[in-house]
Amino acid sequence: MSDGIGARVPRKEDKRFITGKGKYTDDIRMENQAYAAFVRSPHAAAKVTGIDALAAEAMEGVIAVHTGPQMKDDGIGDLITGWSITSKDGSPMQCGAWSPMVTENARYVGDAVAIVVAETQEQARRAAEAVEVSYEELPATVYVDQAVKDGAPQVHGNVPGNMIYDWEIGDKAKADAGFAAAAHITEMEIVNNRLSPNAMEPRSAVAVFDEAEDHYTLYTTSQNPHVARLVLSAFYNVAPEHKLRVIAPDVGGGFGSKIYIYPEEITCLWASMKTGRSVKWTSDRSEAFMTDAHGRDHVTKMRMGFDAEGKILAFETDTLANLGAYVSLFATVTPTYLHGTLLSGCYAMPAIYGNVKAVHTNTAPVDAYRGAGRPEATYSVERMMETAAREMGMDPAELRRKNFITEFPYQTEVILQYDSGDYHKTLDMAQEAADVAGFAARKAEAASRGKLRGIGYSTFVEACGIAPSAAVGSLGAAVGLWESAEVRVNPVGTIEILTGCHSHGQGHETTFAQLAADRFGIPIENVAIVHGDTDKVQFGMGTYGSRSGPVGMSAIVKALDKVEAKAKKIAAHTLEASEDDLVIEGGEVKVAGTDKSMAWHEVGLAAYIAHNLPEGMEPGLKEASFYDPANFSFPAGALICEVEVDPDTGVTEIVQFTAVDDFGTVINPMIVEGQVHGGVAQGIGQALLEQVVYDEDGQLITGSYMDYTMPRAGDLPSFTLDHGCTPSPLNPLGVKGCGEAGAIGAPPAVINAITDAIGNNDLQMPATPLAVWTALQATKTPMAAE
């Protein structure tokens, strides 16, 4: 079957995008539409002492100006966090309240203070500039290490020392014993730089209040419209769920940043009710830099102990995590259960202890960004392995091999149980593909051109397929993370699959359709995927955490199983055969060993005509499934990066990047490779280019592409890819998830390669030309010694 599982099927959804007919939120225009702009705090910390909107309200086209206290009076709730973390002393986490618009204090530059609704976008923006807000400036806490110092300005009155939680994982005593027995201990301090997700489509919302029906519709840039509806309804009190429809149409990338329900969307819904107008707000890029949740921002001190042979005895990490001014939806779980649980990497570590202190600062909220916690863990483990190998004079690949987990399932010391894998094989394949054997010659050749060539590894494992509901519930999650599907066979045999996942670039309309095409032998054109509309699709959890494959597709498979079973019953009845003798292939249900068959569409028709169904069978052919995974899935990979550094300028060129991943079963290799390309590019971006910078007053320095370096085509190489395959035994397809792998695995490979090239391990991300040149200066013999 050419469209089935494993086929490189070009994407069905592409046509509308390549012809300019995609329908993104900002492309929507309602009748009676007005435009919103937000008045934002220019201060990182300030008390709002007065708001004078008289001049703004009098401006041409202005419909209304509303503020936070009015919203609170109307009963709109504060923003919530989706995961409660318990500190190591047993106390619950402490975090400050987050109102959609400031009611008293502004806590970061960009905090929304008022909304202006006007007839045009430009009128709204100009009126927003005319709203006079009086601020009493307060001292700000900006950096993570500063936040935990005695006497640091407190971001929220109810969070002493800015400490949201002080969490631990693993066994400190066991780790200490391991270090006591160690022949070698490597110690490091690393920084996981702060990033801006930068989906190319800025966030947007169109809120439509229908007064006659007392009903709201929200079109928005969301990765998970059902969760948005749940939260908007149950916690923000916008409207009960049956009076609120959330539609996420075509969405231009997310990378985590569009999981969250932000103040702007909530406020637009409320403003639509207040003004009786449809209200559209579209972020510009500058606003996006200020207010989209950032990612990462960890500082980690760590040490690893080895025996004389290089076997790991103990690993200990001590991390400060910056969560920003307010705790966003997934912010608390990212540095804890998505980070601490991956500290074993793909190595057998007998003792692990991790401590994470999460703090408030007067900066934008920090939440999950592609990889979410797992890149931070991988960066720690893989920088540590490379560094330790260098210190012990061992080949970095050999040190890894010496410690690889080889038997599965494998229970780590940090909660997770890995499902399957073959880490030696992916590393073998990567070394072969990267021609590691020829590296020395390439390095010598580069030297003859005055370039410093280096090689770096990253062998990593990730926990994907988020997530088994009961397990995450026991760890503090507010909701389970199952997924749902409905498969509708129409009377003509065509199929609609309704999924609670949301595609914003992942190609679900093709990959998911391949499952049905494969199952029933019908053309992929006869299968449509329906997603992104709470009125059309049963509940679902959305797309993030590399979950749409292992969780979303498993739900589809379960529903397909039910459809197949019923279809066979109908066919068996019609063909007067036993169900056990039926096979479905090539668009027909056949009785094995005979020439008796029914076309697939005849089965569909029979189900709906219902003239001749088996005794007691309900008409129709439509089945649903709610699939809750038994465990996470554990994709793994081996990445090898080769760089050339120009010693005169510090410029790093990535000359070769090899990624061999094991995602288990792959449905559409073309799409999976695309996910790896994009993930690796974001990982390289983190390693080489990207960093959100605030000055010490909390002003955002990197507020546009003039200062925030996005990876461009010329910054990246063509990638060399291959796949290993150890199917996950825990879900029906054996898939493991592929969306985040590149972003998780790539950064340490890049930094390991650069530090190898320049001969100085003291280098933090991003390794900008300035940073690399500075590190190179430190390696030079002082002039005086000459």
Binding site: R125, E129, T649, L689, V693, D707, T709, L770, T774
Partner: protein, 265 residues
């Protein structure tokens, strides 16, 4: 954008009177810097005087050892112009490295030098080649034209009509782009001209494009990369920001100067 009044005069005289008539009128030449600035509400001209409709403002002429480029000539047209490529290939290459292809199809030489952005490329060529800025009122030598960051000798109602470049015996431009903006973090234009060696540096200085005397002296003695090595490029007056410290920029000035000298042959 704040409201503005768009004008498209067909003569320089009309343009000049529009410029002096508006309370805060500005010339619109390519708009690749001005329009983004207006979008962000950082500029609010009362009137925009589009000079692209004026006859004779666009195009390249070569005569008597000079290249003259009309002020409204776009970067892409300088990049691909046969006369520029054969007489001052460094200038064609510089134009071909400004911004990106789409910016080069709109941005103009007059707009670039009138704005005198401290990280723009063209000012280094005008200063490095000892060019002459021709306006509706007078001719201004490059050494007098650039007056510090975003500053020029232009009067409020003065319009650049062309820029004249003497053809050098050799010249080259080496640019180190800012990783984020891709503007010049350091751009060094070196030229051997009838009036001696000139070295103009953009991007690096905290007060815009400038000539580097030390490099000019050293290269006058020996036009070679080795000569650059002998010049200590100081950190004084160098910009410092998240992309480059003053020390780093000073280093890049040396490195780019050497590369430019090598490229000039």
């Amino acid at each position: 954008m704040y409201p503005t009044n768009y004008h498209k005069p067909s003569s320089v005289a009309d343009a000049a009177s529009l410029l002096s008539g508006g309370e805060a009128a500005k010339v619109l030449a390519g708009g690749q810097t001005l329009l983004p600035t207006m979008k962000q509400h950082l500029a609010a001209p009362s009137d925009l005087v589009d000079v692209r409709g004026i006859d004779g403002m666009e195009g390249v002429t070569a005569s008597n050892g000079t290249i003259t480029i009309g002020a409204a000539t776009r970067h892409a047209d300088v990049e691909s112009n046969a006369d520029v490529k054969s007489h001052i290939p460094a200038l064609a290459a510089l134009a071909g490295g400004i911004g990106d292809p789409a910016v080069r199809s709109m941005g103009t030489i007059g707009g670039s030098i009138a704005n005198n952005d401290p990280a723009a490329d063209y000012p280094s060529a005008v200063l490095g080649l000892g060019g002459t800025v021709v306006t509706n009122k007078r001719e201004i030598a490059a050494d007098e034209f650039f007056q510090g960051m975003f500053g020029t000798a232009l009067d409020e109602d003065e319009i650049i009509t062309a820029v004249r470049f003497p053809v050098p015996s050799k010249a080259a431009y080496a640019k180190f782009p800012n990783p984020a903006s891709r503007y010049a973090m350091v751009g060094v234009f070196v030229a051997q001209t009838d009036s001696g060696v000139r070295v103009a540096i953009t991007g690096a200085g905290d007060d815009g494009v400038f000539r580097h005397e030390g490099l000019e002296q050293a290269l006058s003695g020996s036009f070679s990369a080795d000569a650059v090595d002998g010049v200590a490029v100081g950190e004084d007056g160098m910009l410092s920001d998240i992309h480059g410290t003053a020390a780093y920029r000073a280093n890049l000035v040396s490195v780019m100067a050497k590369r430019a000298v090598d490229a000039a042959g």
